[in-house]
């Protein structure tokens, strides 16, 4: 049977990973909204593609449909869509979230400022942050990947980021992307946590490999919500290949596993979700063409399922890809209405050893597509004289 002829209802009735042994499947099935699904419940995968591209599928209708869709439907239809289809439909789905800045509005493109340093040197991180801010980056979050998952280091990084944010009164969020348990410990110690981060995957077994499960994420979400900072307090990263690399994919293709990770993220009404599309390496996405396709599939599936989707447009040095491939994906995602991208100094992450998009790249895509940063951040940028490095750099 052709994929295009499969009724969407069949995907709902036949979980691809067993309900009994996988809590992600249970989450998907138990939270499915049958009423929201009803308007398209009679369609096949192929008919669903036609419907998505039609004038009937307005932004409002797509938003109302999201709780009625399961990841397997989004993944299935994406497989029979060309790149332009993935762009067209995603561009109709606006998902807006808010903390100190509002992310995902039409005509806006935000960035995560990613100031990583190989030894978590505080001055080095501060230097990258100042550079990024001066290029108008950082309106989605200022987020550091710590080199070591060490509680005292994570505390020190959170205090540094918070000091910079408060000093310049920047309408953005901070995050240190340690393991969720380390962030919970920091939170208990009273460190200035804005967003709680975790990498998530689409099967229970793959999440086990990340050292998480839904109960732990529930606990982290609860703790973050108790700070009373608003309704969007979580940040998730995902990426095709995470389940396969942990041998936790149950024979399911990596893109369907990826879409299932969005079901995990969706439970927590996150501020930010991004696929780290070429990060895991050529073992999973071999070259620039595969990374391009995967980035657009992930963004489409995430948006269709109602997530505030961004993308770390990236590749590793053992993949057959280069900065030209990143330019192509960046431009297409800009057209598709991607919520945010990464801002890494010179596109070179000197701690994680991969290439992403640069501060310059954000200026490029905003300029050619007429996009602006988040409104609060844009207003802040207009108020700024030239940023002066403060004493933590000068002493």
């Amino acid at each position: 049977m052709k994929l295009a002829d499969v009724p969407l209802r069949d995907l709902l009735r036949n979980p691809i990973v067993p309900y009994e042994t996988d809590e992600v499947t249970r989450l998907i099935c138990d939270s499915h909204d049958a009423e929201a699904f009803a308007p398209i419940g009679h369609l096949t995968v192929g008919e669903f593609r036609d419907w998505l591209l039609s004038e009937q599928a307005t932004g409002d209708r797509l938003k109302a449909l999201a709780p009625g869709l399961i990841p397997e439907m989004a993944a299935a239809v994406s497989k029979i869509m060309r790149l332009q289809d993935l762009v067209s439909v995603a561009a109709k789905c606006r998902v807006v979230t808010r903390f100190r800045s509002t992310i995902g509005l039409p005509g806006r493109l935000s960035t995560r400022l990613q100031p990583n340093h190989p030894t978590d040197d505080l001055k080095g991180i501060a230097a990258s942050i100042l550079e990024g801010l001066s290029y108008g980056n950082g309106d989605a979050v200022i987020g550091v990947n710590p080199a070591a998952d060490n509680p005292s280091r994570v505390d020190a990084l959170l205090h540094l980021l918070n000091r910079i944010r408060e000093h310049y009164d920047i309408p953005t969020q901070i995050c240190v992307l340690a393991h969720v348990t380390t962030q919970m410990r920091a939170l208990e110690n009273g460190a200035p946590v804005d967003l709680v981060f975790q990498s998530v995957a689409g099967t229970e077994a793959a999440n086990t490999a990340f050292g998480v499960n839904l109960a732990l994420l529930d606990e982290a979400w609860q703790a973050a919500k108790e700070l009373k900072r608003g309704e969007h307090v979580m940040y998730f990263e995902t990426g095709q290949g995470s389940a396969l690399s942990a041998d936790a994919h149950h024979g399911v293709d990596q893109q369907t596993c990826e879409a299932r990770a969005y079901a995990v993220a969706r439970r927590y009404q996150p501020l930010l979700v991004n696929t780290v599309v070429g990060f895991i390496g050529p073992e999973y996405l071999y070259d620039g063409k595969q990374i391009l396709r995967a980035g657009l599939e992930d963004h489409f599936c995430g948006k269709l399922l109602g997530l505030p989707m961004g993308c770390d447009i990236c590749y590793t040095n053992h993949a057959k890809a280069d900065q030209d491939d990143m330019d192509a994906l960046l431009t297409l995602l800009g057209v598709a209405g991607c919520n945010y991208i990464m801002g890494v100094p010179g596109a070179d992450d000197v701690m994680l050893h991969y290439q992403s998009t640069s501060f310059h790249d954000a200026l490029y895509v905003r300029s050619v597509l007429g996009l602006k940063p988040a409104p609060e951040f844009e207003a802040w940028l207009e108020r700024q004289p030239v940023l002066m490095p403060e004493q933590w750099l000068l002493t």
Partner: protein, 241 residues
């Protein structure tokens, strides 16, 4: 006042701009660095050049292209290599693997061992024979450690080459190694290289983790790294080579 941000970080700051893009000199520098990093992936390990006695092993990935496309093969020994390992009873096994940067292994593995071995000898650790594996990924240490009968395995492996760091070594520590262990069950020390974490600091942290692992009979996310600081240090990326 003007301040040169490049004094504070090896990150590519202070590049300047041509319109919204990079100045030509920076664009070309990036492309040269990328070409060098790509080359580093295809460098081959020369085991005698390591200068340490070892048992030489090979993974099931016969060549570099297979290694890149089939991570499963890089995690298992080939049958001849498996037969070469005799089971004993050891506190720990140390495995050196080329991973994604043979250059990193050549430059740093022996130096790191020079710092580590005296610390372990002072505590009378029973160490399995040192093994060197070609075409190996982190998880191949699980099979090697299990076959050798080691309670703990430390894999020294070439990390994927970065643009400014084509020679970075990582160490992954796994308690009770056996095939099927997940990354959440390992501890990692990353960025061991000239401009990253020094051999002495890496050995200090590895020794601390090995002692903790033995005392608590586990590794992974439950074993938080709270070694008393010996200066500054580096650590764990999200995925393993």
């Amino acid at each position: 006042m003007a301040i040169d941000l490049r004094a504070f970080t090896p990150a590519r700051v202070g590049l300047g701009r041509s319109g919204n893009s990079l100045p030509t000199v920076e664009l070309l520098r990036f492309q040269l660095d990328h070409a060098r990093a790509r080359d580093a992936v295809y460098d081959e390990l020369d085991p005698p050049g390591l200068g340490v006695p070892h048992i030489l092993l090979r993974s099931a990935a016969a060549d570099r292209e297979t290694y890149l496309r089939r991570p499963d093969k890089g995690r298992r020994l080939n049958p001849e290599s498996r037969a070469r390992l005799e089971t004993g009873s050891y506190d720990a096994a140390i495995v050196i693997a080329d991973g994604l940067s043979a250059r990193a292994v050549h430059r740093h593995a022996a130096h790191l061992l020079e710092e580590l071995m005296p610390r372990l000898a002072a505590e009378e650790w029973r160490l399995a024979p040192l093994t060197v594996v070609l075409g190996g990924r982190v998880a191949i240490g699980d099979e090697i450690g299990q076959r050798l009968g080691a309670q703990l395995v430390a894999v020294l492996i070439g990390e994927r080459p970065g643009l400014t760091s084509p020679d970075s070594l990582g160490v992954y520590l796994t308690w009770d190694p056996r095939p099927g262990r997940t990354d959440a069950e390992r501890n990692c020390i990353s960025n061991i290289r000239t401009d990253g974490i020094s051999y002495a600091r890496a050995a200090h942290r590895l020794h601390f983790l090995m002692r903790e692992a033995r005392a608590r009979r586990l590794t992974g996310v439950a074993l938080k790294e709270e070694a008393p600081r010996l200066g500054d240090a580096g650590g764990a990326p999200e995925t393993t080579p």
